[in-house]
């Protein structure tokens, strides 16, 4: 009879979570970064990040270098925002040594740092477009403008990427005569590029569908996890070191700090696009105010000996708060040179942000943090 039939239930079937290794060699991880995802079907249950593939001794090696040789290390720490990192370091040395760089040098530094911020955010937008699935279109637009900026830097310093141009006390040499005109040309071209990227990515329904509502972050969580930079501002907190602790001459410029509301990755993208506009504003004001004069402080000695002491100097790099903690024992080489990389702190929050999402979304979240592995691993 039907009621006598016992239904056999399978009791020894189980589903296991599989481990996927998003390995160090991977087109999507923005560098040699390894993630071990524990995946249940499509949903990620756990993330185990592994870093250290890019560690080069960026903090130890400068202990053998004098203060000018260390500048090159900072170029290579965050290779997308070199002028910002150099700026942080030379400001730290200047403060510790009691130097004051000249007005013209300060203006030049600010102009170059903001241009570099634009270049870095352009790179982010291009890479983010590639993560989203655009086959290089956003990437090419972004790199077109980066190329314009890099050519401008090449005319000024000679290098396209590792400039080694700032010095404690000023800058290494003066800018060419057509600096202002050239810079305005660069800004015009960059505006066109930002407009292209805008119309390609901002309103597109596919981008909205992928990015809206993904990994929303509350401000309290963001502060607890140590996030800084556009990620923190996307959650709603109006915190920008250029306003909170103005360094160099940032207090002379008039610019807005864009903030978001939910902190999801769409807002992070919008933060960076808006920041590019604000950087253009700052550069225009600085170009108008650029004074004549010397570019290196008076009375600089050949060998810079910094009096003993310690200092922590922070700047707003495109990724967040980049800091240099410098301890000096009076000689011409730093005693301890510690770098606080923004990407390291931002990346450590990846697990909280990304667990519970789909695999493809984890890639997007990683892209939206905008890491530079050299800052993470130093």
């Amino acid at each position: 009879m039907a009621t006598d039939y016992q239904i056999q239930r399978e009791t020894d079937l189980e589903t296991i979570d599989i481990n996927i290794n998003v390995g160090p060699q991977h087109p999507a991880t923005h560098g040699v970064f390894r993630m071990i995802l524990t995946v249940d079907g499509e949903v990620v249950r756990d993330i185990d990040p592994v870093i250290g593939y890019m560690h080069r001794g960026n903090e130890k090696l400068p202990e053998n270098c004098d203060y000018r040789q260390v500048i090159g290390y900072h170029d290579r720490t965050d290779y997308l925002a070199q002028f910002n990192t150099e700026h942080c370091y030379v400001l730290a040395v200047e403060k510790l040594a009691g130097l004051q760089s000249t007005e013209r040098a300060e203006y030049i530094r600010v102009i170059l740092a903001e241009l570099n911020r634009i270049a870095s955010h352009l790179m982010f937008t291009g890479a983010f477009g590639t993560d989203l699935g655009l086959p290089g279109t956003a990437f090419m637009y972004a790199f077109r403008e980066r190329e314009v900026i890099q050519e401008f830097f090449e005319e000024l310093t000679g290098e396209r990427m590792m400039y080694n141009y700032f010095r404690p006390g000023g800058v290494a040499w003066d800018v060419p005569e057509n600096f202002r005109a050239r810079c305005r040309q660069v800004l015009d071209s960059v505006r066109q590029g930002i407009e292209d990227l805008d119309s390609l990515m901002v309103d597109s329904e596919v981008v909205l569908a992928r990015c809206r509502g993904l990994a929303p972050t509350a401000t309290g969580d963001a502060i607890n996890w140590g996030l800084t930079g556009p990620i923190l501002r996307a959650t709603g907190l109006k915190h920008d070191i250029r306003r909170a602790e103005p360094y160099s001459i940032y207090d002379r410029f008039d610019f807005e700090i864009p903030t978001g509301t939910t902190g999801d990755i769409y807002e992070r993208l919008m933060m960076r696009l808006e920041e590019m506009q604000q950087s253009i504003r700052i550069i225009q004001q600085a170009l108008d105010q650029l004074p004549e004069g010397p570019i290196m402080a008076e009375g600089m000695k050949r060998i810079l000996r910094v009096p003993a002491g310690e200092i922590y100097m922070r700047v707003e790099s495109p990724r967040g708060e980049y800091g240099v903690y410098l301890v000096s024992n009076g000689s011409d080489k730093p005693y301890r040179h510690k770098v606080r990389g923004a990407s390291f702190s931002n990346l450590s929050a990846l697990r909280q942000m990304a667990v519970g999402n789909y695999v493809a979304d984890v890639i997007l979240i990683l892209g939206s943090i905008d890491i530079v592995l050299c800052e993470v691993d130093r």
Binding site: I18, N19, I20, V22, H26, P27, A28, E42, G129, T130, D131, L132, G133, L134, P135, G136, T137, F139, M140, Y141, R144, R191, I194, E195, D198, S199, L200, M201, V202, D203, S204, E205, V206, V207, L208, A209, R210, R212, G213, D254, E256, I257, P258, G260, T261, T262, D264, Y266, E267, M270, E274, Q277, I280, R281, Q284, Y358, V359, A360, D361, I363
Partner: protein, 375 residues
């Protein structure tokens, strides 16, 4: 007729198709790289031959001469047969596809049915490739690929069924002959939309290419393949693209007849037929490449919900509309109006659904210059 003996005739025709289509595919690979390059403000291939025309040939030679690596723990026959299972059905479905009124292999009475049925067999190949590679990425990619293909077959087939209802025939020559006055796109814009979108998904092109761009660019079910097998996958993809483009121009845009037959009211000469077909197919292929260059990809669950919750009801709606018009013998213009209204409603729905997922970013009040359309 090439020969009197039907067997010889069939073999000769198939031989011609089997040679011409891969050559077209080789040219299409070059064209795609050029078109996408132009959209990215760069040149594309330029070195191999004038303007890089021989690039496709160079790629083919390179791929054919590469070592075919097979993972040791891969399931041998599944791994090795998967490319064949993908390519052979697509080539088989070319048998029933008329390129012009005289250039075809066989004129089948149920041509549409045959094409769709046979090309659907490729799904098995993708899953075989995913499973046989013994690689977690491939497995996930293969399973996603299978899911996507199976899902999007249904709106595709329903769209074709809608056209067959209007044409009262599955014979492609008859369908084209019936479009000598107006192409079917004028009667059924919604079906055209559904067919195009489902076709994009069948071909794994942006925005529906997540299975083959698994974890962004690693390759999905094809990650362990190299050399000849890889080139077979690419061949299969491009031949499918040609197939879908030709099919769309035949059943929606009037094939080789319209607008010549509409303007001249007579038979269309063969040369004009070839030109018309080439233009229409080319327009579709350009459209596919254009989409590839400008759209990011949807996530697999968004893709699936788009298919089942959006395309399928719309396809069924279109079939109901067709049925009403045919049963009550309303004039065709009613069909145009109803279908057009449904198409507009569908587009609007998609727009609202995409926007509804959150509040748009409002920038803080900014002085100074605002450029671009950053909101």
């Amino acid at each position: 007729m090439i020969a009197d003996n039907p067997w010889l005739d069939a073999v000769a025709r198939m031989g011609i198709v089997a040679v011409v289509v891969p050559v077209t595919v080789i040219i299409l690979t070059w064209l795609e790289r050029k078109v996408i390059g132009r959209m990215q403000m760069r040149l594309g291939p330029m070195h191999v031959g004038p303007y890089g025309i021989l690039q496709g040939l160079a790629d083919t030679i390179k791929l054919l001469s590469k070592e075919g690596v097979r993972p040791h723990s891969a399931d041998r026959w599944t791994f090795e047969l998967a490319p064949f299972v993908i390519v052979v059905p697509v080539l088989m479905s070319l048998v029933a596809l008329p390129f012009t009124a005289d250039i075809f292999v066989r004129n089948m009475t149920m041509g549409l049915f045959y094409i769709l049925a046979v090309s659907g067999l490729s799904i098995v190949g993708f899953v075989m490739a995913g499973w046989g590679s013994d690689n977690k990425y491939a497995l996930i990619g293969g399973v996603r690929a299978g899911a996507q293909l199976i899902s999007y077959e249904i709106p595709l087939i329903l769209a074709v069924v809608a056209v067959a209802m209007v044409a009262q025939s599955l014979n492609l020559n008859v369908i084209v002959a019936l479009q000598h006055d107006t192409p079917f796109i004028a009667y059924q814009p919604l079906t055209f939309l559904i067919f195009t979108i489902a076709g994009l998904a069948e071909l794994y092109r942006q925005p529906f290419d997540i299975p083959v761009a698994e974890s962004e660019v690693v390759g999905g079910p094809f990650v362990e393949y190299s050399g000849i097998r890889w080139s077979m996958f690419q061949l299969g993809e491009f031949v499918s693209m040609v197939l879908i483009s030709v099919l769309a121009s035949l059943i929606f845009l009037g094939g080789w007849n319209w607008p010549w037959s509409w303007l001249s009211n007579g038979d269309v000469p063969t040369a004009a037929q070839i030109v018309l077909m080439a233009v229409k197919t080319g327009a579709f292929i350009m459209f596919f490449m254009w989409m590839r260059g400008s759209m990011p990809r949807l996530r697999i669950d968004q893709l699936m919900s788009f298919c089942w919750q959006m395309l399928l009801p719309l396809a069924l709606l279109q079939i109901i509309l067709n049925g009403l018009v045919l049963v009550y013998d309303w004039p065709n213009i009613i069909l145009t109006v109803l279908s057009g209204a449904a198409a507009v409603a569908a587009v609007y729905l998609i727009y609202r659904l995409a926007r509804a997922s959150g509040v748009r970013y409002q920038p803080s009040a900014l002085g100074g210059q605002r450029v671009g359309s950053v909101l």
